[in-house]
């Protein structure tokens, strides 16, 4: 049942297909042009990935400009070892940051989204708009006093503070995604539960929560990647000893004497977890964007 909303785009995309039967020479050309364009763009997008991959396996002698675009003559994992040694502690810290941040803000967003779409109170719409503004603000407008406030609350600098901060600033977007998502749940389901005398919590637990899988996939991907990739909060609220991988990577790659193979290997290490999330769940992500965020 959880897949209900996802395949919908696929069917509508298939609708114009029958035209293919009368494939005229002209539409044949059009299709070829389209394909060539798509492949060209593909190569453009993959170009930086090629450089990353190739350079990360080069010995430092080969990272000079004249061999820049060539494959390594002597493949080596030296760069990967250097990168791993300097990044692995922060890699684990980033997992400790991104997983709870994603799960908790998704859970909060789910309940909020349910209330704002299906258990509304007076002023719910105004409140929702006020929440949404929190999603668009430049975080620069809050981050300067944020450090003082978290110290004052007594949160230890580094990962605990960052978990807290990512949960809070993740609430608006998670609430938005779930609110839009739940708006597509048929009214009758919720009403039927109420007729049966179910209160708010039972309605949520028995009707809404079991349907929430795709919504959670979208918010978890979103929150995991934004916590994982965040640099702004990290640079204000942590340092290289207790911060996430973006801080450590920028320290590794940003020095005066850059070790190119190590910093490119480091960039790959820092990107692998989010890339895996996209590869495994990316299909649902696009589906969720369709079912959720873009309502208009």
């Amino acid at each position: 049942m959880s897949t209900q909303t996802i395949p919908a785009p696929a069917t509508s995309a298939a609708a114009p297909r029958p035209r293919k039967k009368k494939s005229s020479p002209r539409s044949q050309t059009a299709r070829t042009v389209r394909f060539v364009l798509l492949v060209l763009f593909l190569l453009m997008v993959l170009l930086p990935a090629y450089v990353l991959f190739v350079t990360s396996f080069k010995p430092s002698a080969e990272t000079s400009a004249d061999r820049a675009w060539l494959l390594p003559q002597n493949w080596t994992t030296e760069g990967w070892k250097t990168a791993w040694d300097s990044l692995s502690p922060s890699l684990w810290r980033t997992f400790q940051l991104a997983i709870p941040a994603a799960l908790i803000s998704s859970a909060i967003g789910s309940i909020n989204g349910f209330v704002l779409s299906r258990w509304r109170f007076p002023g719910a719409d105004v409140l929702f708009t006020l929440f949404l503004f929190g999603m668009f603000i430049p975080y620069q407008a809050v981050v300067i006093p944020l450090r003082q406030l978290t110290v004052w609350i007594g949160l230890p600098n580094g990962i605990p503070t960052l978990i807290f901060v990512h949960i809070i600033y993740g609430i608006p977007i998670c609430t938005l995604i779930f609110r839009n998502y739940y708006a597509s749940v048929p009214h009758e389901l919720v009403e039927a539960a109420q007729v049966d005398g179910a209160g708010m919590f039972r309605t949520y637990a028995s009707i809404i929560l079991p349907l929430s899988g795709p919504g959670f996939v979208v918010t978890i991907i979103w929150q995991f990647t934004s916590a994982w990739n965040d640099y702004l909060f990290a640079i204000f609220l942590s340092n290289t000893r207790n911060g996430p991988i973006t801080i450590a990577l920028n320290a590794l790659a940003g020095g005066q004497l850059t070790n190119y193979s190590a910093s490119m290997a480091g960039a790959m290490i820092a990107s692998i977890p989010t890339l895996i999330v996209y590869i495994v769940l990316g299909r649902y992500f696009v589906g969720g964007l369709m079912a959720g965020s873009v309502k208009s």
Partner: protein, 296 residues
């Protein structure tokens, strides 16, 4: 009647109270704090002596360095928006029909979004190497070997238009996202509309021009707002590609260097200006969204 209502919606409001409190404190409270500091004379690490009105703001607008950072931001934003909108739309248009292997293109176009600006900045710093001729590296080297030497340029090191080059990594990163939004838009258009247009004898081009494209304007607006507000707060990418330096300075980076010098009042004033610029774009959008929803 009223108290019966409360019994009905009360629990909903109750479970949302924690979220309401943290958003009130961490979004609106901290914005207030930032605005407050921006009006004081807290230009050192010491506490403020008193209020100075708008002096920090008037100083900023007479500060050549700040004006320069605004100019940089303007160039970056225009190129970034145009680039992502054009590429994202084009990719969606090429993919919207759905065909075998479409998913592969879609995933690869989308994948840069999973990567942090810090990680991709490692490659882009290398690709956008300003050296030319024999010394050339990165893209300049590639142009050279493809006999496209005339395309070589100093990238972001150009003092006038360098920020346009800084937009390239951002375009690379987010065009896939805009594509996903447009794809969602394309697929939300009922198949019957296309059929009806064909039955009416519209050519393929006319169908797109008069039937499909007008349906996409809400999506285009959302994409524009999302990309635009991302550009306003651009920080990570610039820190990763060039580091904090005058040539590529935007307000968010200027804020950071100002804060390193402990000039809190000035840093907060920059933050407030950023917030106001974003709010001018976002607030009308949020309000019109809320109104449109109410009408539905």
């Amino acid at each position: 009647m009223r108290h019966i209502g409360i019994r009905k919606w009360g629990p909903g409001l109750l479970v949302m109270i924690p979220s309401i409190v943290v958003i009130a404190v961490f979004v609106y409270g901290l914005i207030g704090w930032t605005v407050n500091t921006s009006l004081t004379d807290r230009t050192t690490a010491l506490p403020a002596d008193g209020y100075v009105g708008l002096e920090n703001f008037t100083n900023l607008f007479q500060d050549d360095r700040f004006i320069h950072s605004l100019k940089n931001l303007g160039i970056l934003t225009v190129v970034f928006i145009v680039g992502t909108m054009v590429l994202g739309f084009l990719w969606a248009l090429l993919l919207e029909r759905g065909f075998k292997g479409e998913g592969i293109f879609r995933s690869i176009y989308l994948f840069p979004m999973a990567v942090s600006f810090i990680a991709s900045g490692v490659v882009w710093r290398w690709l956008l190497n300003s050296a030319q001729g024999d010394e050339a590296g990165g893209l300049n080297k590639l142009f050279d070997s493809l006999h496209l030497g005339f395309l070589q340029n100093p990238w972001w090191n150009d003092p006038d238009w360098g920020m346009a080059a800084m937009a390239i990594p951002a375009i690379w990163q987010l065009s896939g996202y805009v594509m996903a939004l447009f794809l969602a838009g394309f697929r939300g258009i009922p198949g019957e509309l296309r059929e009806a247009a064909r039955v009416d004898g519209a050519s393929e081009f006319q169908m797109y021009r008069h039937v499909i494209f007008p349906q996409l304007s809400p999506v285009a607006l959302s994409a524009l707002i999302i990309v635009g507000h991302m550009s306003m707060k651009m920080f990570d990418l610039i820190m990763a590609v060039s580091g904090a330096q005058y040539l590529t300075e935007v307000p968010a980076v200027y804020l950071w260097t100002t804060l390193l010098g402990s000039n809190y009042a000035k840093a907060c004033a920059i933050a407030v200006i950023l917030l106001v610029v974003v709010a001018i774009v976002v607030v009308p959008y949020l309000i019109s969204n809320a109104r449109a929803e109410k009408r539905r």
